[in-house]
Symmetry: C2
Subunit: 424 residues, 2 copies
């Protein structure tokens, strides 16, 4: 098992407002979990092997609560459309290619290598409808040591023929087989993934609800992202009071089924109350919501209400896998929302963005996203010496700066669940 | 002089909507200016030396119309305040340090090296009030081959004692001496730089106006950035109908004095008409306007009206020198403005952002920002091979992707006015 000490400037959140920094302190990993952070190393740990990252920054691994692996090939492309047109014009065409395992092999290798190079140690990943390609993605991720939930996507209506499950029964059978085939990985776990209500018939949702009850899997989907989409859902589901209920009626909206809902840009009072009551996680994806002209989610409301909230890259409506970028854009978008929409909602501070990216999102995976005792030991070591400065900077200032300026080249080591994923 | 041919995928704007791409074509540099772009190299140029960048992207050098060199040390820091508080809390304290030439030496070395590494070939730069430090900055920039206007800042009120010119006469004398000391560089030229109306007394503006008439220098300043600032200006200048007039009455608002005004977030109809009539350049700084909670400028309006517009990093209210980032944020902010403020103003397309960063801003420097015949030969060569993709991509798609994903490491060569600044 994983037992060692890391020395460096250790930064982690206790709460959304409380950032702890121990300068050139010691984080102890015992059996893959944190045994605490110390200014002076206790004698009982002195015999452990040490990683010496004196003067470097050590932060919890970052959590990406919403990322579409098959969309990675067109990152940064096709940025002129709103959600539904973007899906039809770019996304579905790309995702259909994953019927071809050779294409999936090529594409997922690129995605997985780049995710490994990033600061992300935990992710909730969408695949495509294809069980074989999704298994391939899971195998590749498993080998990196990244910890992730990965979903074979379900969709059976309002999508092109070559990216449409032929019936709810067929979807059930394929999804159950896929669950059985992929439940024994160490790092990667299956998650139920109805794409979103517009592409999931009642019959399909019914079948997924059976699978949920049988296998007790978590779920992930999209919620209240875009005004056109929300209008469409209200037409498709005239019997539900809000978009969230369309998932809740099939038992895939928190409660006994741990659930992530991406976006929640336009959730109304009732939907927000349901998110809260059911313990649903909100994956805030500020770059995506900007690029697809959706709007800006009221993250401050979610934080104030104690709703579980984390960040998502939403590749490829977001252009980058960097959760540092998601932090910066979460702050920036919250400022524009304050200025342009609602001055009762205070913009996010950088400590809060850091919390969302670590402990906030990490909670979906258990005790993850902090160095407090008992937390799984996910760590990223950052070397910011290339970012030269003529004046002294505090560790906190160096961390704030990295939120805006970190690139993969600054990441010199990464650990997930105690395992060392790389050092360079 | 500079005579050669560059081969590669040549991309440049003819108009804000018309992007020209010549795949593996030839751009010819004659005496530092473009002699055209060709699919097949004309015989008369066959004897010229060739740079072979087959399959790479070649774009005009990018233009940063608004950047504060002395603020580079605190890039990415202190992002929780609006403009006036931010100036008082962070900016003025940092800028006062440049009275110390040793500090300026250290700080400006970092800034200049990083600007050289970027895709920027043209810049309009603010220094501080200090003539010696500003000269040092100009000397360092001169050595890189970057072409820039640099301003010794003028300010004599509403600023701390250690960053305040003691009188308008003193400011006149120091500024005139500085102009005389710095007018003979090849690449770097002085520009009049009243910081902004709140820190410039009428007497100071009067003196600068005398200098403008005597030396025919261009000018740069800030305009209508933030609601609090605009209110303050209206109190300071009760006799002017708008903020722009407060510059115009001293002859530093276009017309015979080529002028850049940064921001123009809240310019009203009359001010916009004045910008247009006087040929003033708008430096659109989307990241700055977001970080300082200012708002989003109506760039679509400026483009529609044919007002000269370019992009600015506005370091350090913007966190990065990257004009690629400014392009991406110009698009993104225009989308949020469309969604949240005014759906009559269509969001920017990537071709338009590219135009703003090249030919749009370049026009301030003369025939700059394009490879059309007669334009000064500024070029940046981009190697995007590290951005792997499993499917074929067109050159246009590769360019769009770089707007979102380009980092300095992708820049493998840079030319300004024909001179090769680096190859790597």
């Amino acid at each position: 098992m994983f037992n060692y000490v890391i020395k460096g400037n250790i930064c982690y959140s206790k709460t959304s407002r409380e950032l702890c920094i121990v300068e050139n302190g010691y984080a102890v990993c015992e059996n893959g979990r944190s045994a605490g952070v110390y200014e002076t190393l206790p004698e009982c740990y002195e015999a452990l092997p040490q990683y010496d990252y004196t003067d470097k920054l050590i932060i919890p691994g970052l959590c990406d609560l919403h990322v579409h692996a098959p969309q990675y090939p067109f990152r940064g492309l096709g940025m002129d459309l709103e959600l539904i047109d973007w899906l039809n014009t770019h996304t579905f065409i790309e995702e259909a290619k994953y019927a071809d395992l050779e294409y999936a092999q090529r594409a997922y290798s690129i995605f997985v290598n780049d995710l490994l190079d990033s600061a992300t140690t935990r992710a909730c990943v969408f695949g495509t409808i294809h069980p074989q390609a999704t298994k391939l993605l899971m195998e590749k991720l498993e080998q990196t040591g990244i910890k992730a939930y990965v979903g074979k996507v379900n969709m059976d209506r309002n999508c092109p023929d070559n990216l449409c499950e032929p019936s709810a029964e067929h979807a059930f059978a394929e999804t159950e087989q896929w669950i059985n085939d992929t439940s024994s990985y160490e790092n990667i776990k299956p998650i139920l993934t109805p794409r979103f209500i517009p592409t999931c018939s009642d019959a399909l949702m019914e079948q997924l609800s059976v699978l949920q009850k049988k296998y007790h899997l978590p779920a992930q989907s999209h919620l209240s992202e875009n005004l056109g989409e929300i209008q469409w859902v209200s037409e498709l589901c005239p019997d539900t009071a809000n978009y969230g209920e369309a998932y809740a009626k099939y038992g895939m909206f928190g409660g006994g089924c741990p659930t992530i809902m991406a976006h929640c840009v336009y959730s109304g009072e009732e939907e927000i109350a349901l998110l809260k009551a059911q313990g649903v996680f909100v994956a805030h994806c500020p770059e995506s919501n900007t690029n697809l002209l959706s709007g800006i989610a009221p993250v401050r409301t979610y934080l104030n209400m104690g709703i579980h909230t984390g960040l998502g890259s939403d590749m490829a409506a977001g252009s980058s896998l960097s959760i540092f970028k998601a932090m910066a854009m979460a702050i920036q978008c919250s400022k524009l929302r304050w200025r342009l929409v609602d001055q009762s909602l205070e913009p996010l501070h950088f400590e809060e963005a850091f919390y969302l990216a670590t402990k906030g999102g990490g909670a979906f995976f258990g005790k993850v996203g902090s160095f407090e005792s008992g937390y799984e030991f996910d760590a990223v070591v950052l070397d910011d010496t290339p970012l030269l400065h003529p004046q002294p900077l505090s560790v906190k200032e160096r961390l704030e700066r990295l939120v805006y300026l970190a690139q993969d080249q600054h990441i010199i080591a990464k650990f997930a669940g105690g395992r060392n994923l790389f050092e360079r």
